[in-house]
C-alpha cells in the first residue's frame, strides 16, 4: 500500500510539473465540446437563427412557384434569393458560392392546372357527371411532364442534399394534391364557398417522449453532444498515459524500477489512480460547461438533475476502460512516435465505431457488430441511458460491467506482456 501511495504521489508530481500538458488535458476537451455543440446545435434546433441562402430561378411566375417560395420561406431553414437567369444560378452553385439553386420551369402552374383539369374531366365523364357536351374521339392535348431542377454545390453533403430533395418533393406533392381537390371542386360546384372536400391531413404524427416525473425529456444537441464528446475526451487519456509509460522506458527510470522490489501492478496502480482523477475532473468540467456556459452562449442547458450519481458512475468506469487501454498501449509501444499517433487514431476509430459521429443503427451490419465490442459504444449507451432514457442503476449495470471488464482485461494483458518480455 505504501508503495502504491508513493507511486501515486510521484505520478501526481510528474503531472503537475507539466503545466502545458495539464492545460492540454483539461482545456482542449472543453474547447472541443463547445465547438462541436455550437456546430451541431443548428441540426437540432427547430427554429434556426442561421438560414441557408438558396437561389431560386422562377420561370413559372404562377401559383405553383409562389407556393414553393412560400413553403421554402416558411421552413425557416432557407433564405430565398431570386435570380433571373438559370445559367448564372448554375455557375454560382457549381463554384461553391451558394449551396443550392432551384429552377422552376416555365408554365408549371398553368400546365399543372390544365393537366389536372383534363384528368378530373376524364374521371367525371366516366361517371357521367360532366355537364358539358363531350365530343367523342376529340384528341386530348398532351402536357409534357415538368422538371423542377435542383443544382447542388458538389461539396454539399449527401445528407443535406437528401433532406432538401425530400422537402421539395413534399411541397410539390402537396401542391399537386391541392390542385386535384381544387379541380374537382370547380367541376362539381359553381359555388366556390361550398366546401366539398376536407383538405386537412387526415394522418398526423405525434412523438411520444420518455418522461421523468410526468415531465417530458426533450433531447437537444447538448444532451446528445455532452455525453458523446465527454466520452471522446475521456478516452483521449490513452495518449498522455501511454506517453508517460514510454517516457519511463526511454529515460531509464523503468529499468531502475524493474530492479526494485516493486510489482508492475503497483507501478501501473499509481498511474491508474492519478489518470482516473484526471478523467473525472475532465468529466466534471464538461458538465459545468454544459450547465453554466452553454446557456450563456445561447445553447440549451445541460440537464443533470437527479442524474449526477449515475453519470459519475458511468464516467468512472469509462475512465477505467480508457486507462486500461492506455496502460496496454504504453506497455507495448517502444517509442512515443509509436504510442502517440496510434493512440490518437485508435480513439478516433473507437469513437466512430462507438457511434459518436454516426448513429450505430445506420451503420452497415458488419460495423454494427463491430461497434458492439467498442468500449466507447458501451460508455455512450450508458450515458444515453442515463441522460435521455431515464434509466436506473440496474439498467446500466451491463454496460458498466463491460467497461470494468475491459479495464481488467487490458491491464492484465499489459502485466502479462511485461512479465513475459522481462522474464528472468
Amino acid at each position: 500500500m505504501h508503495k502504491l501511495l508513493a507511486s501515486t504521489y510521484k505520478e501526481f508530481l510528474l503531472l503537475t510539473r507539466d503545466i502545458g500538458g495539464i492545460a492540454i488535458l483539461f482545456i482542449m476537451p472543453l474547447v472541443l465540446i463547445v465547438t462541436i455543440t455550437i456546430i451541431q446545435d443548428s441540426t437540432f434546433k427547430t427554429v434556426s437563427e442561421t438560414k441557408i441562402p438558396i437561389l431560386l430561378v422562377d420561370n413559372d411566375k404562377g401559383s405553383v412557384s409562389e407556393t414553393i417560395v412560400k413553403g421554402l420561406e416558411e421552413s425557416n431553414i432557407f433564405e430565398v434569393i431570386k435570380i433571373n437567369i438559370e445559367e448564372d444560378a448554375k455557375n454560382l452553385v457549381f463554384k461553391g458560392k451558394n449551396q443550392l439553386a432551384i429552377v422552376i420551369p416555365e408554365n408549371l402552374s398553368s400546365d399543372l392546372e390544365n393537366k389536372i383539369n383534363q384528368n378530373v374531366e376524364g374521371i367525371l365523364n366516366k361517371f357521367g357527371l360532366d355537364e358539358e357536351v363531350i365530343v367523342e374521339n376529340q384528341p386530348k392535348k398532351v402536357f409534357l411532364a415538368k422538371e423542377v431542377k435542383l443544382y447542388f454545390d458538389p461539396a454539399t453533403q449527401f445528407s443535406f442534399k437528401n433532406s432538401v430533395k425530400n422537402e421539395v418533393d413534399k411541397m410539390i406533392s402537396r401542391i399537386e394534391t391541392q390542385s386535384i381537390y381544387n379541380a374537382f371542386q370547380k367541376q362539381i360546384t359553381d359555388d366556390p364557398s361550398e366546401i366539398i372536400f376536407e383538405t386537412e391531413n387526415f394522418i398526423s404524427f405525434k412523438e411520444i417522449l420518455p418522461k421523468n416525473k410526468d415531465e417530458n425529456i426533450l433531447p437537444n444537441s447538448v444532451q446528445h453532444n455532452v455525453p458523446a464528446w465527454t466520452l471522446f475526451a475521456i478516452f483521449f487519456i490513452i495518449v498522455p498515459l501511454s506517453i508517460n509509460i514510454v517516457k519511463e522506458k526511454s529515460q531509464g527510470t523503468f529499468v531502475r524500477l524493474r530492479t526494485n522490489p516493486v510489482s508492475y501492478l503497483t507501478v501501473l496502480g499509481g498511474k491508474t489512480v492519478i489518470y482516473l482523477i484526471v478523467c473525472l475532473i475532465q468529466f466534471m468540467l464538461m458538465l459545468l460547461i454544459g450547465i453554466y456556459l452553454f446557456p450563456a452562449i445561447g445553447l440549451p442547458t445541460l440537464n443533470v438533475s437527479g442524474k449526477f450519481p449515475l453519470l459519475f458512475l458511468v464516467a468512472l468506469f469509462a475512465g477505467l476502460a480508457a486507462i486500461g487501454l492506455g496502460l496496454l498501449l504504453g506497455t507495448i509501444a517502444k517509442t512515443q512516435e509509436q504510442s502517440a499517433p496510434f493512440g490518437a487514431t485508435f480513439v478516433v476509430i473507437l469513437a466512430a465505431l462507438g457511434g459518436v459521429w454516426v448513429p450505430v443503427f445506420i451503420m452497415p451490419e458488419f460495423m454494427q457488430t463491430l461497434s458492439k465490442i467498442s468500449p466507447m459504444n458501451w460508455g455512450l449507451n450508458a450515458f444515453y441511458d442515463v441522460f435521455l432514457r431515464n434509466s436506473s442503476l440496474l439498467e446500466i449495470v451491463p454496460e458498466i460491467t463491460l467497461l470494468f471488464l475491459f479495464f481488467i482485461i487490458t491491464t492484465l494483458i499489459a502485466i502479462v506482456y511485461n512479465e513475459k518480455k522481462n522474464a528472468v
Binding site: H2, G252, T253, V255, N260, P261, N422, V424
Partner: protein, 247 residues
C-alpha cells in the same frame, strides 16, 4: 557472495554470444572491477546479474539466492546504478530519492534522514529541492548513486558510474563507494577508466568477446605480466589495439 556458472547470453538476432560460458566467483566485500573494450559483454553481464535480461543458459547465485526462487529477497539485497541517469527530470533530487527509497519499503523520517545524510556526504545538500533537469552530469551521477544505496544493499552493481563526470565528482563518488565497501557492501563495477579501477578495485576481471580472459588483484596481474607497468598495459596486451566499433 556471487557464483556464476557457465553463464551465456545471446541476444535475439545476434550472431555471437555477448556472454559466453562465463564462470566467475566474487567474494563478499570485494570491490570487483569488470573491465573490457566496447562490446566485450560487461553491461550484459551486469544486466544478467541484476535480472534485467534473461540468460540463454547457465546460472548464478547471489548470497545463496536466485531470481527464480527468491526474486523479491534478491532485489532487496542488491542495488543497481545504471549507466543512464534513471531519474525523473522534472522531480527534485529529494522527490526522486523519496520515491525510489519508498520502492524498497523505506518510509517516513527514517528515509528522510538517510537521504539527507547521503546528500550531505556527496555534497548535494543545497540542491536537494532543485529539479534534476537543472543538474550537471556529475550531480546527476551522484543522485543516481544515492537512489541505489538508500536501502543499504549487500551488493552494489555500478555500470560505469564515473563516465562523463569531472574529476571532483569522480573523487567524491569513488570515496563514497570505498566508505560503503568498508561498511560491508560488495561492489561490482564496470569502467573504461583503467587507472581508476587499478586504484579502486580489490580485484578485476578483463572480459572480451563475452569471456573472462584474466582476473585477480590489479597488482598481482601487473606483476605477473612481463613489461606491464599498469592495468592499461595488460589490457592492451590481452585485448589488442584494434578498434572495437560496433553497431
Amino acid at each position: 557472495m556471487i557464483e556464476i556458472k557457465q553463464l551465456s547470453k545471446k541476444y535475439k538476432g545476434a550472431d555471437i554470444f555477448s556472454v559466453s560460458n562465463l564462470d566467475l566467483s566474487i567474494s563478499e566485500k570485494d570491490i570487483f572491477g569488470l573491465l573490457g573494450p566496447n562490446g566485450a559483454g560487461k553491461t550484459t553481464l551486469i544486466s544478467l546479474l541484476c535480472s534485467l535480461i534473461k540468460p540463454t543458459s547457465g546460472s548464478f547465485v547471489i548470497n545463496g539466492l536466485t531470481y527464480k526462487k527468491n526474486k523479491n529477497q534478491l532485489k532487496q539485497l542488491i542495488g543497481i546504478v545504471p549507466q543512464e541517469y534513471a531519474l525523473y527530470p522534472t522531480l527534485t533530487a529529494f522527490e526522486n530519492l523519496m520515491y525510489f527509497g519508498s520502492m524498497y519499503g523505506l518510509k517516513g523520517n527514517k528515509l528522510k534522514i538517510k537521504i539527507k545524510a547521503a546528500l550531505q556526504t556527496l555534497g548535494l545538500s543545497q540542491f536537494s529541492n532543485k529539479k534534476i533537469n537543472t543538474f550537471s552530469g556529475g550531480m546527476k551521477r551522484r543522485i543516481n548513486l544515492i537512489a541505489s544505496i538508500l536501502h543499504d544493499p549487500k551488493v552494489l552493481f555500478l555500470d560505469e558510474p564515473t563516465v562523463g563526470v569531472d574529476v571532483q565528482s569522480k573523487n567524491v563518488i569513488i570515496n563514497y563507494l570505498k566508505e560503503l565497501n568498508k561498511k560491508g557492501t560488495t561492489i561490482i563495477y564496470t569502467s573504461h577508466h583503467l587507472n581508476e579501477a587499478e586504484a579502486f578495485c580489490t580485484k578485476v576481471a578483463i572480459i572480451d568477446h563475452g569471456k573472462i580472459i584474466t582476473q585477480g588483484p590489479p597488482k598481482s596481474l601487473i606483476n605477473d605480466q612481463k613489461n606491464a607497468n599498469n592495468l592499461e598495459d595488460i589490457f592492451l596486451a590481452l585485448t589488442g589495439h584494434a578498434l572495437r566499433d560496433h553497431a
